[in-house]
């Protein structure tokens, strides 16, 4: 919203933006990131979604004066360019405890102790990439800092990564710097968290866990890769919860450990790997990042036929995603992820089902009443949302407005090809788990890892 105002200002049109009180701190970060810290704002006090019509009317009346002032009154542009440290500048010297306190006070940590980023440690990471330390991989909004190779190494050190993870860390940052990942929205109120999925030979090379406890902290590579990404979003994209700003996740969640696929199991049953599903060769090392906004309960399924399992997967995963599906219906991109336990995948595959067959089944059999999707979209803040309007705009296929019955069932999974499937978890138990992503925010992006191991 503020970025649209900045675009108008650059085009020579004065703007004023209506920002609600709870978003004011985040707005300051966004405005600084677009180079216009003085963008005029009319502050709507409070939360419009809990205001009745009379209250909205009264508050808007009070907004008229600041709206007029924002468009009419000249704004003083104060250049406050502060001098920031260079990459090799030592910003602090102290004991381990003193370093922790210094970094914590400056909001440079995630609250856990970090490995002190000394120059020798950073240089050990740089030995594992041919890229120049000053190379800029991209610019990460909202704070709009340069994602340099040096900063990747520094945050990799801090997160507890090993130097040999560096090629994977670079690929990870390449992924989140892509426009379709929309890092600028990583501080939105749903509080989504990136999920890293690692595929190919790098899984074995870096000793990533793909088996029992795959999504639990405990294995260095899985844990530190996930932690690195959260630290990098704080320090380079500027996404910090209070007392910082930029991250408006209302309740949010902690970082995810990196997920790896049990590729041997996938190969044994004749399924493509997740890396192949993203368009790479089976022997390519690939890293994928996508948002995760919530997880299903553990999905236990039993039986000897594919249908025994897929029916229950559809019920439990489908219900876990059902309400959030309205966001996919609104934004026309939504990529839920299903992690299927190896023993379950084996039964499904042995019955002749491919991953695509599973996706097709989920698309065809998981529905939500149209009324519920529209109702939840309204509560979420999409106050003008209607499925019919989405169909008329060409965002959704005609089946979403097939009749005028408000209780007509509409598919939860808008397109089968958007559902990701990874075989992982405990081979000794019949459990799967689903993950719901945050529509276009944190869209699935994959990058090849240039291994120099």
């Amino acid at each position: 919203m503020l970025r649209a105002a900045a675009i108008a200002e650059r085009a020579g049109l004065p703007s004023v933006s209506i920002v609600t009180t709870p978003f004011m701190q985040q707005a300051a970060v966004v405005m600084k990131g677009v180079g216009m810290p003085g963008l005029p704002i009319a502050e709507y006090p409070g939360v419009p979604m809990t205001d009745g019509s009379d209250t909205v009317r009264a508050k808007v009346e009070a907004l008229i004066e600041p709206i007029v002032a924002g468009l009419a009154r000249p704004v003083a542009t104060t250049a406050t360019a502060s001098v920031e440290p260079g990459p090799r500048d030592v910003v602090f010297s102290g004991t381990l405890d003193e370093v922790q306190d210094f970094f914590y006070r400056n909001l440079w940590t995630d609250g856990l102790p970090v490995i002190p980023p000394t120059i020798p440690r950073v240089e050990r990471f740089l030995e594992f990439t041919k890229r120049s330390p000053g190379e800029v991989i991209g610019h990460l909004l909202p704070e709009n800092r340069a994602a340099t190779v040096w900063s990747i190494a520094v945050n990799g050190v801090m997160a507890g990564c090993r130097p040999e993870y560096m090629p994977l860390l670079v690929a990870l940052v390449q992924a989140i710097a892509e426009p379709e990942f929309r890092v600028q929205d990583a501080g939105s109120t749903p509080g989504w968290e990136p999920l890293v999925i690692v595929s190919g030979p790098v899984v074995r090379a870096l000793d990533l866990n793909h088996g029992q406890g795959v999504m639990r902290v405990g294995r260095q590579a899985n844990t530190s890769l996930g932690r690195f990404l959260r630290l990098y979003l704080r320090n380079i994209a500027g996404l910090r919860i209070p007392p910082g700003a930029g991250d408006k996740g209302s309740i949010a969640s902690t970082f995810n450990v990196a997920l790896a696929e049990d590729e041997a199991a996938a190969a044994e049953m004749g399924w493509t790997t997740f890396g192949q599903d993203q368009g790479f060769a089976r022997d390519d090392s690939v890293v994928t990042v996508q948002s995760v906004v919530s997880a299903s309960p553990p999905i236990y399924t039993a039986g000897t036929r594919a249908l025994d399992h897929v029916q229950v997967l559809a019920e439990v995963f489908g219900r876990a995603c059902a309400y959030w599906s309205c966001t996919g219906m609104k934004y026309a991109r939504w990529q839920p992820l299903l992690v299927i336990g190896p023993s379950i995948a084996k039964v499904i595959a042995a019955d002749g089902w491919s991953k695509d067959d599973v996706r097709k089944y989920l698309h065809e059999h998981v529905t939500i009443p149209a009324r519920e999707a529209e109702k939840y979209a309204w509560h979420l803040g999409s106050t003008a949302f209607s499925l019919r309007a989405q169909v008329e705009a060409g965002v959704l296929p005609p089946e979403y407005a097939a009749s005028g019955d408000p209780d007509r069932p509409v598919p939860v999974f808008v397109k089968p090809e958007w559902i990701g499937i990874v075989v992982a978890g405990d081979p000794g138990r019949n459990q799967s788990k689903g993950y719901c992503n945050n529509h276009i925010q944190g869209g699935r992006v994959s990058k090849r890892v240039a291994l120099t191991l």
Binding site: I67, L71, A72, V90, R145, T383
Partner: protein, 107 residues
């Protein structure tokens, strides 16, 4: 607690990176909105469908001849690709003769 003199000392570097946010000037303001055209940019969130009509009425009462390009004409600004928005929005605003914009609602 005083650290032991035998405790190692770490010389640490900055975990951030250079900012790419170059300061940019704002557009010239419009002292009088009478007879001007105001474009409405909406992210289709948080009751904009209630808020914009109230703003229109209040401004029309104050400024004779003020005109609005309503949000339906300009389309949603939320969820659109940043580069695509930057490439198309200025032309859209020019095409509709906008002199100023009101952007809402949120951050």
């Amino acid at each position: 607690m005083t650290p032991s003199s035998r405790e190692p000392v770490f010389e640490v570097v900055w975990p951030l990176a250079p900012s790419a946010a170059a300061a940019q000037a704002l557009a010239a303001r419009i002292p009088d909105l009478s007879g001007k055209t105001v474009g409405e940019l909406w992210d289709y969130l948080f009751k904009g469908e209630e808020i914009f009509p109230l703003i229109r009425r209040a401004l029309a009462w104050r400024y004779p001849g003020i005109r609005f390009v309503e949000y339906e004409t300009l389309g949603t600004i939320h969820g659109r690709d940043e580069a695509e928005l930057a490439a198309t929005l200025p032309d859209q605003l020019r095409k509709h003769g906008c002199d100023a914009v009101i952007s809402a609602v949120g951050a």
